[in-house]
Symmetry: C2
Subunit: 388 residues, 2 copies
C-alpha cells in the first residue's frame, strides 16, 4: 500500500526487512520493526526516534486520563464523540461545525480533497496539481494513483516557496488547478508568505482550488503568519485547510485530523470521506487535548529548547540549517545521506530518509531537550570522524 512512511522516510525497520513486492508489501516494508513500540520484538528503549516529526513528550496528562476512560466505550460506535470534537474545533476556529470534516489524520482529508478534485473534473481535462518542490509527498503519490498531472515548482533561496512561479504554473493552461501549499513546509520548515498567498487566493478564479496543509501550524511563531482559515471565514469557497493532532498534540498513533472549508465546499468533500470512521479513543483524547493549552505551551517551550540545543551545535560544527517553524530542522551534513543514515541507525538514531532537498541535507525531528543532548553528542562525534 502506498504509504506516508514510504514517502517520508526510510526507517531502521525498513532497513532490517527484506524488500517485498506489491503495494501491501510496500506498506509493510515501511514498518519500523525493532523500534520500541513493536510489541513483538525486545524493547530497544535506547533508540532515538528523530525521523517522523512526532512529539517525544507524548500526550497531555489530561488526554492520558481520557484515554484510559475511553476503554469503556471501545465496543460502541464513536458517533457522539465525533460531534463533540467537531463542535469543540468549530468553537476554537470560529467557524460553524458544518465547516469541519474530521478524518483519520489530515492525510485522509488530503486524500478526500484530491479525490473530489479528480472526480469533479471531466475525464478529458482532468486537472492539474501544482505544489512547491520539495514538499510533503502524499499529494504527488495520490496524483500518480488517480491519474492527475502533478507539477512541482522548485523553491527559491533558502527553500522559500516561489510564489510568482507557482502562480504562473497554476495559470499556465487555464482550467482546473489544485494548488497544494504546505505551510510551514515539510521537509523545510519554511512558512509561505501570508500576504502573497492570501493575495493570490483572493484574485484566483474559482477553478483554482487551494489545499493549504497546516500540519505544523501550531509551531509557527512568525508574527506575519496567519492561518488560511481566515479566508474561509471570509467566505472563500476555493480554500481548504487541513490540520492534524499528530504533531504538537502528540497523538500520531490515534489518527485524528481534519479539514476546514466553506460549508458548500465541505458538502462536496464529505462525499469522499468516511467521516464517522475515526476511533472513539482518538476523538475523546483530541477533545481533551484541545482543552489542555498549558500542555501545548509546555511542549512548545521544550521544542524551542531542543531546537536551540541542536542549532547551537550545528553552528559550532559549521553545519548550516534552515530557520524553521516546526518540530524538525533541515540541516546540512557533510556526508552522503545514505551512509549517514545507516551509521546513525547503527548508533541507535533514526534520522529519516533522504528528502528531495538535494544532497548534503538531513531533516531531523526535534525530540525532548534530553534527547537532543544525546543526539548532538553523537553528531559531534560523527563530525570528528568525518561522517557528518
Amino acid at each position: 500500500m502506498p504509504s506516508r512512511r514510504t514517502l517520508l522516510q526510510m526507517s531502521l525497520g525498513a532497513m532490517l526487512m527484506p524488500a517485498a513486492a506489491g503495494p501491501a508489501a510496500a506498506w509493510r516494508s515501511q514498518a519500523r520493526a525493532g523500534t520500541p513500540h513493536d510489541q513483538d520484538r525486545p524493547a530497544r528503549q535506547s533508540i532515538l526516534r528523530l525521523d517522523s516529526n512526532e512529539n517525544s513528550l507524548g500526550m497531555s496528562p489530561e488526554a492520558r486520563k481520557v484515554f484510559a476512560r475511553s476503554l469503556d466505550v471501545a465496543n460502541r460506535y464513536p458517533d457522539g464523540h465525533a460531534q463533540a470534537l467537531c463542535d469543540a474545533l468549530a468553537a476554537d476556529l470560529t467557524v460553524s461545525p458544518d465547516q469541519i470534516l474530521l478524518t483519520n489524520g489530515s492525510t485522509a482529508s488530503i486524500r478526500a480533497i484530491v479525490q473530489s478534485f479528480r472526480q469533479n473534473r471531466p475525464s478529458t481535462a482532468e486537472g492539474r496539481v501544482v505544489a512547491q518542490d520539495p514538499t510533503f509527498g502524499i499529494v504527488e503519490r495520490l496524483c500518480r494513483d488517480l491519474g492527475l498531472a502533478y507539477h512541482g515548482v522548485p523553491t527559491g533561496k533558502d527553500f522559500a516557496p516561489d510564489m510568482v512561479a507557482m502562480e504562473k504554473a497554476a495559470r499556465k493552461d487555464g482550467g482546473p488547478v489544485l494548488v497544494y501549499m504546505v505551510t510551514p513546509n515539510n521537509p523545510t520548515g519554511v512558512v509561505a508568505p501570508t500576504p502573497a498567498l492570501f493575495d493570490w487566493i483572493r484574485r484566483a478564479d474559482e477553478e483554482t482550488i487551494f489545499l493549504i496543509d497546516e500540519a505544523y501550524h501550531d509551531y509557527v511563531d512568525a508574527p506575519s503568519y496567519e492561518s488560511a482559515v481566515r479566508l474561509i471565514r471570509d467566505g472563500h469557497r476555493n480554500v481548504i485547510v487541513t490540520r492534524t493532532f499528530s504533531k504538537l498534540h502528540g497523538m500520531a498513533g490515534l489518527r485524528v485530523g481534519y479539514a476546514v472549508a466553506h460549508k458548500d465546499t465541505m458538502a462536496d468533500l464529505s462525499r469522499f470521506s468516511d467521516g464517522w470512521n475515526i476511533n472513539s479513543t482518538g476523538l475523546m483524547v483530541a477533545k481533551a487535548s484541545l482543552a489542555d493549552t498549558s500542555w501545548r505551551a509546555h511542549c512548545l517551550r521544550q521544542n524551542t529548547e531542543a531546537r536551540t540545543i541542536l542549532t547551537d551545535t550545528l553552528d559550532t560544527l559549521g553545519l548550516g540549517h534552515i530557520p524553521g517553524h516546526t518540530n524538525f530542522v533541515l540541516h546540512r551534513i557533510a556526508a552522503d545521506h545514505a551512509d549517514y543514515k545507516r551509521r546513525m541507525a547503527d548508533h541507535g538514531v533514526l534520522v529519516g530518509r533522504y528528502m528531495r532537498t538535494g544532497p548534503g541535507w538531513n531533516r531531523l525531528s526535534l525530540g525532548t531537550p534530553d534527547e537532543m543532548r544525546r543526539f548532538v553528542d553523537i553528531l559531534t562525534d560523527f563530525r570528528r570522524r568525518g561522517w557528518a
Copy 2:
C-alpha cells in the same frame, strides 16, 4: 457527512436533536447524544442500546490489557503494528499478507472497493452495482455519491437472496458489474446459499466483481456456510471479502476492518485506501483479540442465550422472526415502527431505525442475556398495551 448511522438507524440522540442541513450536519445529527458514552452529558447507564449490532460484552480481557499498554505509543505513528496485525490475519486466513488491506472498519474497505470500481470504468459506461434488497445501505449511498447505477434485487421468501434474479440483473446489459453480497445479510440475518454463490462466481466473467461483505461471519453456525475467502485462496481475482472487528470482537469504537483479495486485485485496491491510517491502539488490540479465541467463544454462547431469550418471548407473544446468523434478530411488531421506536426510546431502549423490510418489522441487536431479559419484559408490556 453521509454516515453509517444515517443509513442504518435513527437513534435516541437523533430524535432529541434538531434536523440540520448539509452532509456534515447530517453526520452530526446521527450522533447518539445522551447515550452512556457521551462524556458531556450525565451518564444514563440504564439505556439499553440494542440498535447498532455492537457487542454489549465489550472487548476481550486480553485486549483490554493491550489497550492500556497502547497509551505509551499513542504519540508515535502506528506502522509496525499494522504489519503485525496483517501478518496475524494472514496466518489466520491462510492467505499471504499482501492479500490483506487493513482499513478503518470494513466500511473504509467497502469505500475503497467502490471507488476503485468507479474509477476503473470508462466514463461513458460507468458500471452498475447489483445487491439484494434490503441490505446494508453503505454501497447504495456510495453509488449515489460517486455516480454509479445501483440496482437492488428484492429478496425472496423469508428474506433469502434471490440468486437467480441477482445473476440475471448482473448479466442484463453486459459490461462491468459490482455485485454487493452481504452474508449473513443486514438487516435480515439471512446467509446467502454458499453453493449457489460460489457457482455464480466461478462462472462469472472477469468484469463481474464480487464484494462479499462478511461483517457477521463470526456468528454463522450454518453447516453449509463457507467464507468466500476460499475462492480467493483458489485464485479468483474478481472476489473481495470484507470483515470487521466491530462485531464479535467488540471493537466498534476502535475502527479496525479489512479486505481480503487476490494480490493483483489488492494492488489496485490499495491505491484507494489510506492503509497506514489505522490507529495504533486499534491495531494492537485487534491482534490481541484475534488471539483470544476463548473470549469469542464466550461471546458466541452469550449471544445464543440472548437470542433464545428473545425468540422464546417473540414466540409467546405471537411475533414472527427470521432465523438469523448474526448478533441481531429481525422480528415482527404489530405496530407502526416510528411509534414503536419512540415509545421504546421513552422506556430507555434504542431499537434502531426503520429498515427497508416493509412495515411491521424491527431489527433488534442482541445484548447480554441480562439485557435481553430486561428487554423482553418491556416488550411483553408493550404487547399488552397494544404498542408492539
